[in-house]
Symmetry: C2
Subunit: 202 residues, 2 copies
Amino acid sequence: MDSTKNTEETAINIPESKSTKGKHVVYTATPHHQAGWKRGVGIFDFILRICALVAALAATTTMGTTDQTLPFFTQFFQFQASYDDLPTFMFFVVANGIASGYLVLSLPFSIVGIVRPHAAGIKLLLLILDTVLVAFTTAAAAAAAAIVYLAHNGNSNTNWLAICQQFTDFCQRVSGAVVASFIAAAIFIFLVVLSAVALRRH
Amino acid sequence: MDSTKNTEETAINIPESKSTKGKHVVYTATPHHQAGWKRGVGIFDFILRICALVAALAATTTMGTTDQTLPFFTQFFQFQASYDDLPTFMFFVVANGIASGYLVLSLPFSIVGIVRPHAAGIKLLLLILDTVLVAFTTAAAAAAAAIVYLAHNGNSNTNWLAICQQFTDFCQRVSGAVVASFIAAAIFIFLVVLSAVALRRH
C-alpha cells in the first residue's frame, strides 16, 4: 500500500514541477524583457542625477566662494566684490543649494526605481518634483545670467556701468557658476523626459 | 407567408439586439469610465492652454508696448524708456512670443487628446515640449525680474542707480508683464503634471 502510494506521489510530482517550470518560463518572458529595459532607464536616471548634483554643487560653491578684493584702495574703503553684494546672486546660491539637497534626497528613490522597475508612483513623484526643479534652477540661472550680462556690458540707457573691467576674476567665476546651473537645468529637463517615456511604457 | 416571415424576423431580431446591447454595456463599462476620465483631463488641459496663452500674450504685449517719455528734457535729448533699451526685456518679448505661438499650435493637438483620449504619443510629445517651455518662460520671467528688481532698488555696491523713481509707469507695466510670464510658467508646470498623471493611468 505504502510503496504504491509513494510511486504514485512521485509519478504525479515530477510532471507537475516540470509543467510549472515550463509555464514559468513562458509566462514571464515579456515582463522580464520589459523589466530589463526599465532597469536600464533607472540606472541612466541615477547617473544623470549624480551629474546634475555635481553641476548644482559646482554652481553653488563657485558662486558662494567668489570674493574678489582689488589690489588698490581709496582713503575710505577697499574695493571688494562678493556674491552677497547682489540679491540675485544670493538667490542663485540658495536655489542651487536647494537643488543639490533635493538631488541627494532623490538618489534613494532613484535606487528604488532600479530595484523595483514597476513602481510607477515613485516615477510620477520624481517627475513632478523634477519639473518644479527645472523651473527653480532655470530661474536662478537666468536671473544671474541677466545680472552677469549687465556686469559685462553695462547699459548706457539706464546709466549702469560695466563692472567687469575692474572685477575680471569675479566676473569669470560668476559666469562659470551660471553655466553650471544651466547644465543642471538641462539635465533636469532630460530627467523629466526620461521619466515620461518610462511612464508611457508602463 | 409574408406575415409569418415578418413576425419571425421581428421575433429573431428583438432578442438579438437585446443580447448585443447587454453585451455592449457589460464589455465597455470599464473602458468607457476610463475614457470619460481621460476626456475630462483633456478638456482641462485645453482650458489651461488657453489660460496660459492669455497670460503669455498679455506678457508679450504689455512688455512690447511699454514706452514712456518723461515730460521734461535737457538740451541734448529727451528722457525715454522703452523695452528695447535692455536686451533682457527684448529676450523676454521674444520668449513669451514664442510661448504664445507654441500654445496656439498646441491647441489642435490638445483637441485630438480630447477626441481620442487613448493617443499616448501626442500626450508624450506635448509633455516634452511643455517641459522645454517651462524652462523657456521661467528663464524669460526670472531674467526680467532680476532687472526689474534692480530698476526698483538699484545696487549701491555696483553703483547702479534705481531708475523707477523717474520711470514709474514704465516700471509698473514691466512688473505686470513679469508677473504674467510667471503665471504662464506656473500653468506650464501644471500642464506637465497633468500629462504625467494621464500617462500613468494609460
